[in-house]
Structures are given as structure tokens and as C-alpha cells.
């Protein structure tokens, strides 16, 4: 009898505990319960997530109808999480997505064409007043699927102190890519064993540098990829040769020992491990935060001496997308308007400044807020100048862009390692992508 009572008591206790656990609701993230909720997923974590949360809060305070609730979904699988959210019937209302994923998501019918939620005035401003390269990076198949809340662009960061060691001023900075590489070699430092202790300059990122040699990987006239071109071959040969000069193994070892932290002030350029490096515009804000005393310059990657294209490049970054099955599309668009510069320009400029992101509209740069911020980090202007260049082009608008980018990276890796010659690497790239195109066609993907 006593034994049975013990069992009953145990069961009751277990049931009570279970009921307590399952009755607990997670703490609500809602602050304005009476408003319409707009669920916003983004890919930032750490310090950046706080910046985004602040922007969302400013939006919430700017109006009384909607409440944007941000959720950090960091990691490389963000697009897969979005897809699963959509399939599971529980997508966010708006998500900040890497623009490279837009063609694939749009071609699969996952994204809302933003023309559905834009007013005619918004459409007009978007099509006629934005930077073309940013505008087109969010478009696919003649429709707009993404609007930027912060685009990224690359240029050279030059440590002025390191130049002074060679008795040089930044005003004497080389005007050709060959000159930069030569200067980089002079800035290299090694230990007694010949290991690099400071890297002067390393030319890499074929997917970006190619735009300094030619029009990149896409021909807008024929609306097709142009991979194995003379310009791309020259770019890959150049990168390979420069890597060979410094020594592949030496660079690999040096790079492996570098801090890769992106928001902790440990960027190797800040710590002085790199003298000249190719990096994105958000680093201006990072330097301002962590090394405001640093003497540096931002300079567009100069073209090669022969047949080069100055101010070349391509953009990537964060674009707001609205899933097709989003419940609150109007609220989502209202938030995008606030951030991207369709509504209050000063408020929008502050959003872009908070993260050191490139704006969608040139007129945002003219705002008081942006100009005041530029005074604190004047090097940012270098990136804005590149944005207006006709040689700054969007990535190829193909639905298999992820695959293409992987293959371009693979071609560069094969060439710099010496596994294949640059020519063979490009031929292989072209062949592999053509095979993928054939496969997609045979399986009916492009219908």
C-alpha cells in the first residue's frame, strides 16, 4: 500500500512538473502589444545584432501602427532557414538576405515582387533615383525582389604609417595594379626563417578583381554568362602570378595565423599585420570605433596598366526580401521604406551610418546626418565614389548564382595553388557551369 502511494506521489509530481514546464511561455519580445507585429529576421549576430535591434526600435518609435520584432538568424544556412520557414507556413514578414541568394529564391517563387507593395511614387524613386548597381542587385527577371538596407563594396585600405617606413606618402600611391603589388612586396616583413610577419599586399578575390580587368562574368547584351574571356584570363593570370611571387605556402601559413574576428577590433589591418588590403566599407566604422587614431586611406583598386577599368567592382550585401507567404507585407514594406530611404531621409541615413553600410540613394549621402558622419570617417567617401562608377556592376543575375560563385572560387583556388594553369582553370570553370546549365535545362529548371 505504502509502495503504491509512493508511486502515485511520484507520478503526480512528474505530471505537475511537466504541466509547469509546458505551461511556461517564452518571454514575449513584444513591447507594443496593441500594434501589428512585423517579424523581421536578419543575419547579424553579436555587436551587429544590437545595431539592428536599435534600428528596429527607432522604427517602432517613429510610428504607431506596426511593431517590428527582430530575430537574429545568423550563419551560412540563413536562406535554408527562410525556405523551411516558408514551407512550414511560418515565415518572417521580412528578412535581410544576402543578395546572392535572391535569384535562386526568386526563381523558386519564394519571394514577393516588391512592385506589389510599392506605391507608384516608391517605384519611381527606386527605379530612377537609386544607385543602378545596388538597384539591379536586388532585381531578377525584370522584377524587384530585394531592396538594400546596407550594401557592401571593396577597395584598398592603406596603412599610411607603413608607407612612411619606406619614405613614401599616400599621395604617391601607385596608379596601377602592378605598382600596388610591387609596393606590397616592399612592405612585406619576414622573420629569420623567411616566414611572413607582415603582409604588404595580397591580390585575391578573383570574383571582385575581375571587374578591374573587364566587365566581369556576365554579358547584359546577350543576357548570358561570359566566364572564359580574355579579360578574366588576364585577371586570373595576374592574381596567380602575384601569389606565386610571394609564395603560396608562405601566404597560407601567415593568413591562417591571423585574427578573423570581424567585430572585435582584431582585424589584421588594424593590428598592423597587413599594410595594404582589399576589404569592405564597413571597416571604416570599425576603425573609427576601435582605432580612431589610425592613419589610413581608402583607395579604389587601381586598374592594371594596360586595358584596365578604373573604379571597377561589384556589390554584395543585405537586401530586404518579403516571402510570398508573409502575413504582414504592408508592415514589412513600411519598415523597408523607413530603413532604405523612401521615407524620412535623415532617419534612413542614420540607419546606414550605424552599420557603416552603403546607401541605396545618392541623396541620402547629402543629408545632414550622413555628412556629419562622413566628417568622422571621411575615408568612406572612397566607396561612395566607386558606387557611381559605370565599371561597378551587379553580380550575374542567374538563379544558380551560389553554384557559380562556388565555381569561380574553385577556379581561383586551382590556379593559385598551381593545380591548373589559369587558362585551364577558366576552361574548366566554363565547362562545369555549362554542364550545370545543361542539367538545369534537361530537368526543366529554367522553364
Amino acid at each position: 500500500m505504502v509502495k503504491n502511494l509512493k508511486w502515485v506521489a511520484f507520478l503526480l509530481l512528474a505530471l505537475g512538473f511537466g504541466a509547469f514546464v509546458f505551461s511556461q511561455k517564452p518571454p514575449s519580445q513584444r513591447k507594443y502589444q496593441d500594434r501589428i507585429e512585423v517579424r523581421f529576421w536578419h543575419r547579424w549576430g553579436g555587436e551587429w545584432a544590437k545595431v539592428v535591434a536599435d534600428i528596429a526600435e527607432r522604427y517602432n518609435q517613429s510610428q504607431t501602427k506596426y511593431e517590428v520584432v527582430p530575430l537574429s538568424v545568423p550563419g551560412s544556412g540563413a536562406d535554408a532557414k527562410l525556405t523551411l520557414g516558408i514551407i512550414g507556413g511560418n515565415p518572417p514578414d521580412v528578412m535581410s538576405m544576402w543578395n546572392g541568394a535572391i535569384p535562386s529564391l526568386a526563381s523558386n517563387g519564394l519571394l514577393t515582387p516588391l512592385e506589389e507593395v510599392m506605391s507608384p511614387a516608391d517605384q519611381d524613386r527606386f527605379m530612377n533615383e537609386s544607385y543602378p548597381v545596388i538597384r539591379d542587385s536586388g532585381r531578377f527577371g525584370g522584377k524587384t525582389y530585394g531592396v538594400t538596407i546596407g550594401s557592401d563594396l571593396y577597395a584598398l585600405y592603406v596603412n599610411e604609417e607603413h608607407l612612411k617606413e619606406l619614405g613614401l606618402n599616400v599621395e604617391d600611391f601607385p596608379k596601377t595594379l602592378e605598382g600596388v603589388c610591387e609596393l606590397g612586396n616592399r612592405l612585406n616583413k619576414t622573420d629569420a626563417n623567411g616566414n611572413l610577419t607582415r603582409l604588404g599586399f595580397l591580390l585575391n578575390s578573383f570574383s571582385f578583381v575581375a571587374y578591374n580587368f573587364g566587365p566581369g562574368f556576365y554579358d547584359p547584351v546577350s543576357e548570358s554568362l561570359s566566364l572564359n574571356t580574355a579579360e578574366n584570363l588576364r585577371a586570373l593570370e595576374f592574381i596567380t602570378e602575384e601569389r606565386r611571387k610571394i609564395g603560396f605556402e608562405r601566404v597560407t601559413r601567415f593568413q591562417a595565423g591571423l585574427n578573423t574576428g570581424s567585430d572585435t577590433g582584431g582585424w589584421p589591418f588594424i593590428t598592423g599585420d597587413l599594410s595594404i588590403t582589399i576589404d569592405g566599407q564597413w571597416r571604416v566604422e570599425e576603425i573609427r570605433k576601435y582605432r580612431p587614431d589610425m592613419k589610413y586611406r581608402v583607395i579604389p583598386i587601381p586598374p592594371p596598366a594596360k586595358n584596365g577599368r578604373g573604379m571597377g567592382g561589384t556589390i554584395s550585401g543585405n537586401f530586404m526580401v518579403i516571402p510570398t507567404s508573409a502575413k504582414q507585407k504592408e508592415g514589412a514594406w513600411d519598415f523597408i521604406r523607413f530603413w532604405s530611404g523612401f521615407a524620412d531621409k535623415e532617419a534612413s541615413a542614420r540607419c546606414f551610418n550605424d552599420g557603416g553600410w552603403l546607401p541605396l540613394f545618392p541623396d541620402l549621402v547629402e543629408t545632414k546626418t550622413f555628412q556629419a558622419w562622413l566628417k568622422q570617417g571621411p575615408e568612406f567617401q572612397g566607396f561612395i565614389d566607386i558606387l557611381s562608377s559605370e565599371n561597378c556592376l551587379p553580380m550575374p543575375p542567374v538563379p544558380y548564382l551560389q553554384f557559380l560563385n562556388d565555381q569561380i572560387g574553385r577556379a581561383e583556388d586551382q590556379a593559385v595553388r598551381g593545380t591548373l594553369s589559369p587558362k585551364s582553370a577558366l576552361e574548366k570553370l566554363s565547362y562545369t557551369v555549362a554542364e550545370e546549365q545543361r542539367k538545369r535545362k534537361a530537368l526543366g529548371y529554367e522553364e
Partner: protein, 292 residues
């Protein structure tokens, strides 16, 4: 209702939560993937029948398919025997009755219960060519260690070495198998004048063979599904695709390129390979596995 039948119903009711979960989340998707492997399917739009096109393209046009299959087979051929040998050796060492043996067993078992992702991240540091533990140790002896995950040759071997980190799990099973070997067999062997090596060869290993067989089967299946470590440490398949494991390529096809039909075909080819190899191992057991 007859008592036997009542017992059956009770038994099924007890395992019902697992059965439901198994059918809903494993068995039905398993069957569905057969159909999906004959379709073009991107998760969002309905699957479209394409016959054997996925299989045909995989086998005739996809260079990465063959590369990833080769990497995986190579890994299985090296890792599985190595894991068995290391596991058995560790179990033999930890089967000795010495002071503090429980602590030693715990120490060797602990790594196998550490989450794989955490282990992988730690190994990323250990294998760093400049600041990593291994190369720092080698430097003390005047040796410049390899670039590990940045080197096409060493990246593969780094993952092989790392795979032995979790051998503690099988070691415990071997240890349990060793404890089950009747002492009288050793006593008889000693009386017959068998040396320790002969006792190992003619008593321990034959009596342990059912456990080795079990671990071998599980090892083969695990090796062909090797994914997490490769994904965390070399998400793009490593330098020159040296760590592009089959499951990693399958995952990329499914979740990076939204090619679910193609990935399903890959999964079924993998399944057939694993089933065939398991069947071969099962057939071979008559020759080397001794039950009692």
C-alpha cells in the same frame, strides 16, 4: 482478449511514441525520397517526374559526384580499420586492473560525448598552421608542421586523425566484450602454455569478434555518412575538394542549390552502397566471427 495478445498490445502502446516518430519522421520520408530521386524537386514547387535523369547525370556528367565518392571511400578504407585497431588496443589497455583504471576509462571515453561541433571548433585551433597546438609542439623539435586544413594532402589526414578522437565510444563496447570473455578460457590457455600474444590471437580476438563485427558494421555506415566535422571545418570541401565528402556534397546540393531530387538520387546511391557493403560484411562473418 487472450493474455498474450494483451501483453502485445501493452508492449506496442509503450513503444507507440517511438513508432509514430519513426514512421512520420524516418520511414515515410525514406520512402518518399525514392520517388523524389526520380523528380526535379526544389522544395517549393511540386516535384516533376524526370525519370532516371538525376541518376544518369550523377553517374555520367557530375565530376564532383565521383570526387566526393572517392574521398568517402578512401576515408572509409582508412578510418574503419584504424578505429577498430585503436579501439581494441585501448580497450585491452584499459582492461587491466591497475590503480585508477576507472579514471583512465573515463578520460578516454569523455571525448566521445563532447558534441561534434564543439570538438571540430577545438580542432580548428589545434590544427592551425601558425598558432595551433600540434605545429607549436612540432616547432619545439625544429619541425615545421604542415598547413593542415589548407593543404590538399593534410586536410584529409587531419580529418582522419580527428575521427579517432571519438573512438572512446566503441572502446567502451570492446571493454564490455572483454569483460564477457570467460576467465576459464584464459586459465586453460595458460595451462596449455599459451603466451600473452597467443592468448590474444586465439582467445581474446575470437571471443571479441562479435563486438568487433558490430563496431565494423556501425563504422562502415558511419564512415559513409561522415559529415559534421567536414562541414564545420571545411564547409566548401577543403582545398582542391580534398575533404568534399559524399554527404557534404549531398547537403550542398540539397540545401545550398535547392536540388532535392538530385540530392535524393545521391542519397539512394549512398544507401545502396552502404547496404551492399554491410551485406558483404555480414556474409563474411561466418569466416571470422565466433559466437561463444
Amino acid at each position: 482478449m487472450k493474455p498474450g495478445r494483451t501483453n502485445n498490445v501493452t508492449g506496442y502502446l509503450f513503444i507507440a511514441p517511438w513508432l509514430i516518430g519513426f514512421f512520420v519522421f524516418t520511414f515515410i520520408p525514406f520512402l518518399q525520397s525514392i520517388y523524389l530521386s526520380f523528380t526535379r524537386y526544389n522544395i517549393i514547387t511540386p516535384p516533376r517526374w524526370v525519370g532516371f535523369a538525376n541518376y544518369q547525370m550523377l553517374l555520367t556528367q557530375d565530376e564532383l559526384f565521383w570526387k566526393s565518392a572517392l574521398v568517402t571511400v578512401k576515408f572509409a578504407v582508412i578510418h574503419v580499420p584504424l578505429a577498430v585497431v585503436v579501439g581494441v588496443c585501448l580497450a585491452l589497455l584499459l582492461n587491466r586492473e591497475v590503480k585508477g583504471i576507472a579514471a583512465y576509462r573515463t578520460i578516454f571515453f569523455l571525448p566521445s560525448i563532447v558534441p561534434t561541433v564543439a570538438t571540430s571548433v577545438v580542432f580548428l585551433w589545434i590544427l592551425n598552421p601558425t598558432t595551433g597546438l600540434i605545429n607549436n609542439l612540432l616547432r619545439n623539435f625544429g619541425i615545421q608542421g604542415p598547413a593542415w586544413l589548407n593543404d590538399p594532402f593534410w586536410a584529409f589526414w587531419a580529418l582522419v586523425i580527428m575521427s579517432l578522437w571519438g573512438v572512446g565510444g566503441s572502446m567502451v563496447i570492446y571493454l564490455a566484450g572483454l569483460k564477457d570473455i570467460p576467465v576459464h578460457l584464459y586459465e586453460a590457455a595458460i595451462i596449455d602454455g599459451a603466451t600473452p600474444i597467443k592468448r590474444l590471437r586465439h582467445v581474446t580476438l575470437p571471443m571479441l569478434s562479435p563486438v568487433i563485427f558490430f563496431n565494423l558494421v556501425m563504422g562502415v555506415i558511419g564512415a559513409f555518412q561522415y559529415f559534421t566535422q567536414a562541414y564545420v571545418m571545411t564547409p566548401n570541401g577543403g582545398p582542391q575538394d580534398s575533404t568534399l565528402f559524399y554527404s557534404l556534397y549531398l547537403f550542398n546540393r540539397a540545401w545550398k542549390y535547392y536540388d532535392m531530387g538530385y540530392a535524393s538520387a545521391m542519397a539512394w546511391i549512398l544507401f545502396l552502397i552502404v547496404v551492399t557493403l554491410t551485406a558483404i560484411v555480414f556474409r563474411s562473418q561466418k569466416k571470422w566471427v565466433h559466437y561463444g
